[in-house]
C-alpha cells in the first residue's frame, strides 16, 4: 500500500519564512518516513492558492496542512477536501471553519499586545507612535495591530497613535517611504510598530538615515535574517516572531494524529518547543510560541 502523503500548502513559495517552515516539514518527513512535502503558489493571491489546493485534492493526498493567504477564500475548497475524506489542518487561521484543527502559535491580539508592551516600555510609556500593516486586507496584521492598540489604550494613556494604519504592500521600499513621510508629518513620533516582515527593515533604514537610532523605538514582526543589520545599529529595537519550522512540524504532526484517530486535548504536550501545554479553544490549538529577539539574542535564530 502507498505511503501516507501530507501536503503543506503555504501562502507563497520561496520566501524565507516558508523556507524555514519547509525545514520543519522536511524534518517531519525524515523523522516519521511519511511523504510530507510543501508547495506554494508563485504569487501572493488567494485564488492561486485555492487552485493549488484543488490540484492537491485531485492528486489524492491524505492530508493537507494549509497556511491560508486569506482564510475566507479557502473555505469552499477546504470543505471539498474534507468531503473527499482528506484531513485538513490549518495555521494562522483561527477563524477557519473548514478545518479539523487550526494551530496558532499564539493569540494574534496577545502577540500584538506583546510587541506594544515592548514598544511602550522602550518609549517610557509616553509619546506618539505610528503603526504599519502589510496590507489593509490582511486579517492577521489587522488583529496584531488591534491587539496592540487595545493594549496601549488600556495601559498607556499617555501614548497616542498618529496617522492612519500605514499600508506597505509587504514591500520594504514602501515601508521606507511611508516611514520617511511619518517622520516628516509627525516630527515628534517616537515609536513605530510594523507587521509585515519587511516593515521594520524599511522603517529602520529611514531611522538610520535620519540618525534617530537612539531617539526612536521600533518593534515589529520580522525575521532575524531580515532585521539583523538594523538590530545591530539600534535602528530597530526588537522583533517578534514564531518559528515557522516548528509550526510546520506541528501541523504535520496534528494531521497524522487525526489520521491515526488520536485525540487532541486541552493542556496536551505536542512535544514541540512552545507547544508543550497547548490551549484548546474549540478547533483552535494555541501554543505559547512567540519569540522576542533583540540585538543580544539574535544570533540564536539563524534564519
Amino acid at each position: 500500500q502507498e505511503e501516507t502523503s501530507i501536503a503543506t500548502v503555504v501562502k507563497i513559495a520561496g520566501i524565507q519564512w516558508f523556507d524555514r517552515m519547509e525545514q520543519g516539514v522536511d524534518k517531519y518527513a525524515e523523522d516519521t518516513g511519511t511523504n510530507a512535502f510543501q508547495v506554494g503558489p508563485a504569487q501572493a493571491d488567494p485564488q492561486q492558492q485555492a487552485a493549488l489546493i484543488e490540484d492537491m485534492i485531485a492528486q489524492g493526498v491524505d492530508a493537507l496542512a494549509v497556511v491560508p493567504m486569506s482564510p475566507e477564500a479557502l473555505e469552499p475548497v477546504l470543505k471539498r477536501a474534507m468531503d473527499a475524506g482528506i484531513v485538513v489542518v490549518t495555521h494562522e487561521a483561527a477563524s477557519q471553519e473548514n478545518t479539523q484543527y487550526d494551530i496558532e502559535a499564539f493569540k494574534n491580539e496577545d502577540f500584538g499586545a506583546n510587541l506594544m508592551e515592548q514598544l511602550a516600555t522602550c518609549m517610557g510609556g509616553e509619546g506618539e507612535y505610528a503603526v504599519f500593516v502589510g496590507s489593509l486586507t490582511s486579517q492577521t496584521h489587522t488583529q496584531w495591530i488591534d491587539g496592540a492598540i487595545a493594549h496601549q489604550k488600556a495601559n498607556y494613556p499617555n501614548m497616542t497613535q498618529v496617522g492612519d494604519r500605514n499600508e506597505t504592500f509587504d514591500d520594504q521600499q514602501q515601508a521606507y517611504a511611508k516611514a520617511q513621510e511619518v517622520l516628516r508629518a509627525f516630527p515628534n513620533v517616537k515609536g513605530m510598530q510594523g507587521s509585515a516582515s519587511t516593515d521594520v527593515a524599511g522603517i529602520g533604514l529611514a531611522i538610520e538615515e535620519r540618525g534617530l537610532e537612539d531617539d526612536t523605538c521600533v518593534f515589529g514582526t520580522s525575521l532575524p535574517s531580515i532585521a539583523q543589520q538594523y538590530l545591530e545599529t539600534g535602528a530597530v529595537d526588537g522583533i517578534g516572531f514564531w518559528d515557522p519550522s516548528i509550526a510546520g512540524y506541528a501541523m504535520n504532526k496534528v494531521a497524522q494524529m487525526i489520521m491515526d484517530g488520536e485525540e487532541v486535548t486541552d493542556g496536551m504536550d505536542l512535544g514541540l518547543e512552545g507547544y508543550e501545554a497547548i490551549k484548546l479553544d474549540g478547533k483552535v490549538i494555541y501554543g505559547q510560541a512567540w519569540v522576542n529577539v533583540d540585538a543580544d539574542n539574535m544570533a540564536d535564530y539563524p534564519f
Partner: protein, 333 residues
C-alpha cells in the same frame, strides 16, 4: 500528405489546438492515472473559468485595439457589492426561494456595476480620448480603491448557502463554472462573428479612422465594448466570490497579467482587428493543462511562469512570417 498538414496548420488557431493537445498528451503520459482521473479533470474545470472569463473581457477590448487593465478591479468591486447584499441583507440563514431571489438580485447588481464601470472606461476612451492602457490603469486603481473603502480591506462573507452553487455546483456532473464559461465564450464568439456590433468592433480595431469615415457610431461602439468587458469581469467576480465564499478587494490580483497573456497567446492582435474566441479558449486550456500537470509533478510554481513566457514567445515566433523568412534564408544559404 505533408502539404495538407502544413496547410491545415496555417491558421494560428490550428497551431494552438495542436499545442493544447500536445500539452495534454504530454501530461497524460507523464502521469496517466492522476492527470486523467475524473477528479483531476473536474478540478481543472473548476479552476480555469474565472480567469478565462477575464481573458474574454480583455479579448473584446483588444479587438478594438484597446486593452482593459481594470478587469480585476471591476470584478472585485462588483463582487464586493454583491457580497454585501448577500451577507448583510439576505444573511447567512436565508434559504429556499428567498435565498435564490437574493442571489439573482445580487448578480443583477454586480452585472450593473460591471457595466457602469465599463461605461466609465468607455467614456474615458471615447469622449476624453485617453489611451485605453492609461484610462483603465487609472480606473482600475479607483475601482479597487472603492472596494477597499467599502470594506475597509477585509473580506465580506456569510452568504446564504445557495450562493455557493454558482462556483461549486455540478449540473449532470459538469461543473457550473465550466458551463458558465462555455456559455459566455459562445456568446462572445457569436457577438464577434455574427452580429453587427461584433463586425463593427473588429473593423474599428482594424482602422479606427476609416470606421469613423464609414459612418460607424464609434463612440457608442467603444462605450458598449468596455461595458461588455465590465459585465464579463463582473461575472468572473461573482464566480470568484462564490468559489471563495467571500469577496475581498484584492482577490485574483494575479489574474490581470494572466488574462492578457491568455488573450495574446490565443492569437488576439493587441493592436486590434483580429482575434478568435476559439483561440482564447485553446490558450486557456493549454495554460490549465500545463499548470495542473506541473503541480502534479511538483514542479516549482515559478517555473510555470517561465514556461508560460516561453510558450508565448514560441507561439509568436511560429506565427511570424519574418521568422519563417529568416529561417528559410538561413537554410538556403
Amino acid at each position: 500528405m505533408s502539404r495538407t498538414i502544413s496547410s491545415r496548420l496555417s491558421s494560428p488557431e490550428a497551431r494552438l489546438a495542436l499545442i493544447a493537445v500536445l500539452v495534454f498528451v504530454f501530461m497524460a503520459v507523464l502521469s496517466p492515472d492522476r492527470f486523467l482521473s475524473v477528479q483531476n479533470l473536474t478540478s481543472m474545470a473548476f479552476q480555469f473559468p474565472e480567469f478565462a472569463i477575464l481573458a474574454l473581457a480583455v479579448t473584446v477590448t483588444m479587438l478594438t485595439g484597446g486593452i482593459d487593465l481594470s478587469v480585476v478591479g471591476v470584478s472585485n468591486l462588483s463582487a464586493v457589492v454583491a457580497a454585501m447584499i448577500l451577507a448583510s441583507i439576505a444573511g447567512e440563514t436565508a434559504v429556499g426561494a428567498g435565498a435564490v431571489m437574493w442571489l439573482i438580485l445580487s448578480m443583477v447588481v454586480a452585472l450593473s456595476i460591471g457595466a457602469v464601470c465599463g461605461l466609465f472606461n468607455g467614456a474615458l476612451v471615447a469622449f476624453v480620448g485617453m489611451p485605453p492602457i492609461l484610462a483603465t490603469l487609472g480606473s482600475g486603481l479607483i475601482f479597487t480603491g472603492i472596494a477597499v473603502a467599502l470594506t475597509g480591506g477585509s473580506a465580506v462573507m456569510g452568504f446564504p448557502a445557495a450562493a455557493a452553487w454558482l462556483g461549486n455546483g455540478l449540473v449532470l456532473g459538469v461543473p457550473v463554472p465550466l458551463i458558465l464559461f462555455a456559455l459566455l465564450a459562445a456568446i462572445v464568439a457569436f457577438i464577434v462573428s455574427r452580429t453587427a456590433f461584433g463586425l463593427k468592433l473588429i473593423m474599428f480595431g482594424a482602422n479606427p479612422r476609416a470606421a469613423r469615415f464609414a459612418a460607424i457610431n464609434v463612440n457608442g461602439l467603444l462605450l458598449r465594448v468596455y461595458m461588455l468587458s465590465g459585465a464579463l469581469s463582473a461575472v468572473a467576480g461573482m464566480l470568484v466570490m462564490s468559489r471563495a465564499n467571500s469577496a475581498k478587494a484584492d482577490y485574483g490580483s494575479s489574474y490581470l497579467l494572466l488574462s492578457i497573456l491568455i488573450a495574446v497567446l490565443g492569437g488576439v492582435n493587441p493592436y486590434g482587428g483580429y482575434g478568435k474566441v476559439i483561440g482564447v479558449v485553446l490558450a486557456v486550456l493549454s495554460m490549465q493543462f500545463l499548470s495542473s500537470g506541473l503541480n502534479m509533478l511538483q514542479v516549482s510554481n515559478f517555473a510555470r511562469e517561465l514556461i508560460w513566457g516561453v510558450l508565448l514567445i514560441f507561439v509568436m515566433l511560429v506565427n511570424s512570417p519574418r521568422a519563417a523568412a529568416l529561417l528559410r534564408r538561413e537554410r538556403t544559404t
